[in-house]
């Protein structure tokens, strides 16, 4: 009673930190129970908590004892599982060394305990109050779509891609993809797959041993694309364009690609493609054909990613821009009941 009264006397300061590849965004909101009073966004060219960042945070936190610090979990070792039942969890992941939470008694998101401790240790000086999973952020951001459709939802961050498939608010599949390590893994797996091609001592390739028939089959599959050019598909495509126009995309122009963004978007596309492949192949998941993709764009993806997904995977792509720090702030506010 008294604490509630005292709490009402002060504004709440919510500090949100989003760590990027080589920089860090700090978004601070000062709000009362009813309204936003002040907000400021500042980027720092560092990924660790330095003096200037501490000073910036302290300039707001010293104004109110009710200051909260929230962070989006950037650890690579995290994910989500489409069940909350304890005896079914090990089917997907051994969560002994993971911190996990069940959302809406439906699906579970998890992260490595050591990474959580690491975050708490790094931000010990200011004290972390909330650590959010990108999957919850994605779920909240697309809450309207998640509850009414079967689609692939992707959160595109600077160096991570969080991918999840929801069907009427039930999680079907999820994967958190680290762009750097995944690319390395992919290259490694490609090398491992190519071990059928034995290199001779001279370093040349024995072309006779190369299985040409497999490649030909792939090419035939590729030839099936022509089948998609039927009238029905064209109609569907035109309908989806209508929906797309209803969706925000029309207001927010997609950034034209340059070389760096082209590479990054291609990496993202590859990761999405691989991950969808896992979804289709893995028998643990009841795979359905994904038609729609909703992308929460936190970095400003170029038109290439959309084009790849549409042309290569025949998906209807809807892109909605978001400021990750602001969304993290929204989650923190929801936690605080503001």
């Amino acid at each position: 009673m008294l604490s509630n009264f005292l709490e009402a006397l002060y504004h709440k300061v919510i500090v949100n930190i989003v760590i990027k590849r080589s920089s860090c965004d700090v978004y601070i909101e000062m709000c009362s129970k009813k309204a936003l009073i002040n907000s400021e966004m500042k980027s720092f060219d560092t990924t660790i908590l330095n003096e200037s960042m501490l000073e910036f945070i302290a300039s707001y936190t010293k104004e109110s004892p009710y200051s909260y610090l929230s962070i989006l979990d950037m650890s690579p070792d995290q994910g989500a599982i489409p069940t909350c039942t304890k005896n079914r969890l090990p089917l997907y992941k051994d969560l002994a060394s993971y911190e996990f939470k069940c959302l809406e008694e439906n699906w579970t998101y998890y992260t490595s305990k050591s990474d959580l401790y690491e975050i708490e240790k790094v931000y010990k000086q200011v004290g972390v109050d909330f650590i959010f999973s990108p999957f919850t952020l994605l779920y909240k951001f697309f809450e309207d779509k998640v509850k009414s459709s079967f689609a692939l939802f992707i959160l595109v961050q600077d160096s991570f891609v969080s991918l999840s498939i929801f069907e009427d608010s039930l999680l079907v599949y999820a994967e958190h993809l680290d762009m750097e390590t995944s690319i390395d893994d992919e290259l490694l797996s490609q090398v491992m797959d190519d071990d059928e091609i034995e290199l001779e001592e001279s370093g040349g390739i024995n072309l006779e041993e190369v299985d040409v028939i497999d490649d030909m089959e792939d090419l035939e599959d590729f030839g099936d694309i022509e089948d998609l050019d039927s009238l029905e598909e064209i109609d569907e495509f035109s309908q989806s364009q209508d929906i797309e126009e209803e969706f925000y995309e029309a207001d927010e122009p997609i950034i034209e690609s340059d070389d760096d963004s082209f590479n990054e978007d291609y990496q993202r596309f590859s990761l999405i493609q691989t991950s969808l492949g896992h979804y289709y192949k893995d028998k643990r998941y009841e795979s359905q054909f994904v038609e729609n993709v909703y992308i929460a764009d936190g970095v400003g993806v170029s038109s290439d990613l959309k084009r790849y997904l549409e042309e290569e995977m025949f998906l209807n792509v809807y892109i909605r821009h978001l400021d990750i720090a602001m969304e993290v702030c929204a989650l923190a506010k929801e936690e605080l009941g503001l």
């Binding site: 004892p65 909260y68 929230s70 939470k101 909330f130 919850t136 936690e335």
Partner: protein, 175 residues
């Protein structure tokens, strides 16, 4: 917690600065309250003392009046005692003078001193001794003198001498 992996730390308005400020204000308020209490107590004490002193004053005034009465009474007593003393001295002198008046040959058996007179009982060898030696001085002192004799068995005379002094006022009235 709905979404977060961790629970937020308990927030309190009592930061170190607030605690310092509160302790400062608390000490100040306590000191003010103590001063106020002390002043209230002192005020009460003074009021009580004032009441007590005024009561004492009234009592002292009463006792002073009583003392004044007592003093007046004692002064009266003193005056009376002095008067009595003086009278006694006068009486003593009178008695001494009286006994000096009585000659050796006359024996007094009883003497009654009255307010304005003297009655003497005694034995005289004869009437002449009495008349010349006692009655003459008595007549010079008192205004009225009466003597009566009756013979005793041995030939002497018992006598009763009644002497009165008339007051000047009575005399004035008579006149």
């Amino acid at each position: 917690m709905i979404y977060s992996y961790i629970t937020p730390k308990k927030k309190s308005i009592f930061t170190q600065e607030v605690q310092l400020l509160l302790s400062f204000f608390t000490i100040t308020i306590v000191m003010l309250l103590m001063t106020y209490s002390f002043l209230v107590f002192k005020n009460y004490s003074f009021t009580q003392e004032k009441k007590s002193l005024s009561t004492q004053k009234v009592e002292l005034e009463k006792s002073l009046l009583i003392m004044k009465d007592k003093i007046a009474y004692i002064e009266k007593q003193k005056m009376l005692s002095e008067t009595i003393y003086t009278q006694n001295i006068v009486l003593k002198d009178s008695i001494s003078n009286l006994f000096d008046l009585v000659p050796l040959r006359i024996t007094l058996s009883e003497a009654q001193l009255l307010k304005n007179g003297l009655i003497l009982y005694g034995i005289t060898p004869n009437k002449d001794i009495y008349n010349f030696m006692l009655q003459a001085p008595l007549r010079s002192i008192f205004h009225r003198t009466y003597s009566s004799f009756y013979p005793a068995k041995d030939g002497w005379f018992r006598f009763v001498s009644t002497n009165y002094t008339d007051n000047e006022e009575e005399l004035d009235n008579d006149e």
